[in-house]
């Protein structure tokens, strides 16, 4: 299942790219940040390790670029694959505090987005238990789950 850069650009049809820039021009994220979709495809094609770039993580995977590409390059699919390659090679975005918190939450509660006090209150208003019957409630199950996570490279990213 491990895809190489070559697999990714071939499967994504990146060789068909004519560098017209419709992707960058269409990109809603690119207007706000440094993401240059066309440049990512170009770098991938010429053999630069584009998975090391931070901008890769600015894509919201809205698929507008892929929808509009006149050459049917699977641009968003390529970006997702490049992210997988980045994680496998331990390249995480340095600005990624948000994913860091998600990993910490996952480890502590078994849930990327754990129960907030607001939701807890809402639950009691409509007559539900304050906490749902999930892994966070069952301390033994949570310990087992943490054992599964221990040692995964991803955990280091979360500072665990």
């Amino acid at each position: 299942m491990d895809k190489t850069m070559d697999d990714i650009i071939r499967e994504g049809n990146a060789y068909a790219c004519i560098q017209c820039g419709r992707c960058t021009g269409s990109c809603p994220s690119g207007r706000e940040c440094g993401l240059r979709t066309r440049k990512i495809i170009h770098m991938a094609r010429v053999g630069i390790d584009v998975f090391k770039t931070e901008e890769l993580w600015d894509c919201t995977t809205c698929f507008t670029c892929q929808e509009r590409c006149p050459k049917e390059v699977k641009i968003t699919d390529i970006i997702i694959e490049l992210r997988n390659l980045a994680v496998k090679n331990s390249y995480y975005p340095s600005m990624a505090d948000v994913p860091k918190i998600i990993i910490q939450n996952l480890y502590r509660t078994g849930n990327g987005q754990p129960l907030s006090p607001e939701v807890s209150k809402l639950r009691s208003i409509i007559g539900l238990d304050k906490e749902p019957n999930d892994i966070a409630k069952d301390k033994e199950a949570l310990a087992d789950f943490q054992k599964l996570l221990d040692g995964l490279p991803l955990m280091r990213w979360g500072g665990i």
């Binding site: 068909a16 004519i18 560098q19 017209c20 820039g21 419709r22 992707c23 960058t24 021009g25 269409s26 990109c27 690119g30 207007r31 240059r36 066309r38 440049k39 509009r68 590409c69 006149p70 050459k71 049917e72």
Partner: protein, 649 residues
């Protein structure tokens, strides 16, 4: 049976991989082989002479040449044996180059294979039968379908060579798209000034029968003898009485109410109209879809056009006519249509009136157009203008993967014309790649940039509106930065697609289309004006997107091929065709369905199939499918093929 076998070295192309001497010694041992020789280049004069000498001196019955592919040199050797007095169909070719030496590395195995291939050809050669070409008379006239610049040039060239031409055009006037243009790139010649004299020449030429407002209904027959039915649509105006004065058009109740096709819907006409003032013929036509009299049988108290016409030229009782003509050759010049950018929704064509196509802008420039040549878009002079290239071209998503070839240059021309008319206009061209390939094109591109047109690499991604102002978003790919421009006018550089008429005409003539849907030429390099159907030629954008110089060149090329054909009184029909044994044929008609060329005709009286030799291409589909074995393919009879196979298994 005396067979002569000649093994070619093809320089070293064959002899590097095949041991020619070993092949010779094996083949010489065959009982039917009278002589077996080798030579460096069999196709050369000394090589051909070697064969001719043996035919004369040894009295050979059959000749086998083991060399390249028959596609390459079969005609050469057929000619050589025929010159020496042998029937050309007693010649057989073994391909030991493309199918052996070029594709193998092991010399021993390649030699064995080459020997097998030659022996197999010898076995087949022994069973070949002499065949004779039949003579087919040629009708000395031509049909040209399409009255754009391609059809006009083709018709004039053929007519000037002295042959009659029927020029069929579906619209009320000839001229095609070129008549819609204001100026032409890169010389900025006025399109009308260079086109209208040719249109008039067509109308006046004694050898041209101009059939406007007419469509080809059906085509039967084959090279040298096509029978064509042409439908002349009723104009409801007697062309021999009409003087083109235009009183009727001014009088029409619907004047200025119907979108003019010629003006891309931007200008308006009445129900009785000429498409444009320089129309040829300058005769009026009534639009049956719009005319009140023709649609409702009533137009006020009496039709105003009739009242206005001094010559009594209007005739509502006119009906369509079918004209039948015989021609020897046909030129397809059905041209192109502009890509409809509505489906490229991000450009908002059809939503905002100031997003327009290249051809629409062309009409804005034209002195005879809807604004009288003034640069007015919806009544205003645009100051901020953005051109977008490759709309409907180089786009697999909408099924047009090809480059339309003319857009880069017509954009440059239109940008220049806008700058000329509006000197303070801010004009930006957003382009994918700049393709200025023709004579004087690169120079024109440079000129336009010097005039202040901004070229920014990177195509437009989308158009949106905010507070009544259009914005175009793109990336400047040379800076690697996205940007936005405000625009009063967005011009889409729309590409070219085959015209709608191509479907019906292609079907009638059994023409193939390439992947881009344009008509397929017989060979992309060496036969660009021929089709695989003998006697049918291509001219202009029907074969692929083309600018005017290329179209005119191809049109003259097509005309010269037509003249070449028409200059003969008879042509020889290839005898490698299918033949029906009517004693065996059961009349099941399976072959008829399979024939890609419509060469089969069923004889109802005798309940048997017949095959027109002039149409049959010898593909063999029918012979292979015949359940009773009643069809034999000349030169590829079962016995000949079986002998050939048995030798190699």
């Amino acid at each position: 049976m005396k067979i002569g076998v000649y093994v070619c070295h093809c320089g070293v192309n064959i002899s590097n991989t095949v041991d020619v001497q070993k092949v010779i010694s094996e083949v010489s041992a065959l009982p039917t082989v009278a002589v077996c020789r080798d030579y460096q280049y069999m196709c050369s004069d000394p090589g051909q002479e070697m064969i001719a000498k043996d035919i004369r001196e040894l009295g050979l019955d059959r000749v086998v040449v083991a060399a390249c592919s028959p596609r390459m040199h079969e005609p050469t050797f057929r000619g050589a044996v025929e010159a020496a007095g042998m029937n050309p169909y007693c010649f057989e070719m073994a391909n030991i180059r493309e199918q052996c030496s070029w594709v193998h590395e092991d010399k021993e195995q390649a030699t064995r294979k080459a020997a097998d291939l030659v022996k197999s050809s010898v076995a087949r050669a022994a069973l070949l039968e002499p065949l004779n070409s039949t003579e087919v008379p040629v009708t000395h006239a031509a049909l040209v379908i399409g009255g754009g610049i391609a059809g006009i040039q083709t018709a004039l060239d053929i007519a000037n060579s002295g042959y009659p031409v029927y020029l069929v055009e579906k619209d009320p006037s000839i001229g095609g798209h070129m008549a819609q243009f204001d100026k032409t790139f890169p010389t900025l010649d006025c399109a009308a000034c260079i086109l209208t004299p040719k249109m008039v020449d067509v109308a006046r030429h004694p050898n041209i029968e101009l059939l406007t407002y007419s469509e080809v209904e059906s085509i039967e027959g084959s090279v040298g003898n096509f029978h064509v039915r042409i439908r002349k649509k009723p104009r409801y105006v007697n062309v021999s009485l009409c003087t083109g004065c235009g009183s009727c058009a001014t009088a029409c109740r619907l004047v200025g109410r119907i979108p003019s096709e010629f003006d891309m819907g931007l200008g308006k006409r009445g129900a009785i109209y000429v498409p444009f003032p320089q129309a040829v013929p300058l005769r009026y036509t009534i639009d049956p879809e719009k005319c009140l009299m023709l649609k409702h049988g009533k137009c006020g108290t009496s039709p105003k056009c009739v009242d206005a016409c001094d010559r009594d030229a209007i005739d509502f009782s006119m009906t369509e006519e079918i004209l039948e003509v015989d021609v020897g050759a046909i030129v397809v010049a059905t041209g192109y249509k502009e890509f409809d950018p509505t489906i490229k929704r991000e450009y908002k064509y059809g939503t905002f009136k100031n997003v327009m196509t290249g051809l629409e802008l062309e009409r804005i420039f034209a002195p005879s157009g809807p604004t009288g040549g003034k640069a007015l878009i919806n009544g205003k002079v645009p100051k901020k203008i953005v051109f977008v290239s490759c709309v409907g071209s180089r786009d697999k998503r909408i099924g047009n993967p090809y480059c339309s070839r003319v857009c880069c240059m017509y954009i440059a021309k239109q940008a220049h014309l806008l700058k000329e008319k509006i000197p303070d206009a801010d004009i930006t061209v957003m382009y994918t790649d700049m393709r200025a390939f023709g004579k004087g094109y690169e120079e024109f591109y440079e000129r336009v940039q010097k005039e202040g047109i901004k070229y920014r690499r990177g195509n437009a991604a989308e158009v949106y509106e905010e507070d009544g102002v259009l914005h175009v978003r793109a990336e400047d790919t040379l800076m690697g930065e996205p940007y936005e421009l405000e625009a009063d006018l967005v011009v889409l550089g729309t590409g070219l697609e085959p015209s709608d008429a191509a479907d019906a005409i292609g079907h009638m003539l059994h023409l193939s289309r390439s992947a881009d849907k344009f008509f397929l030429e017989a060979h992309p390099k060496l036969r660009p004006v021929d089709t695989v159907i003998d006697g049918v030629f291509l001219a202009g954008a029907a074969q692929g997107p083309k600018d005017i110089p290329d179209t005119v060149a191809q049109a003259s090329g097509a005309a010269s091929h037509v003249v070449n054909l028409l200059s003969k009184d008879v042509i020889l029909a290839e005898p490698i065709v299918a033949e029906v044994n009517t004693d065996v044929c059961a009349g099941c008609r399976i072959c008829e369905i399979l024939c890609p060329y419509d060469a089969h005709a069923f004889d109802e009286e005798r309940n048997v199939m017949t095959i027109n030799k002039a149409i049959c291409k010898g593909c063999g589909s029918c012979a292979a499918a015949c359940p009773s074995g009643a069809i034999a393919m000349n030169h590829f009879r079962d016995s000949q093929i079986v002998a050939q196979i048995l030798e190699v298994i």
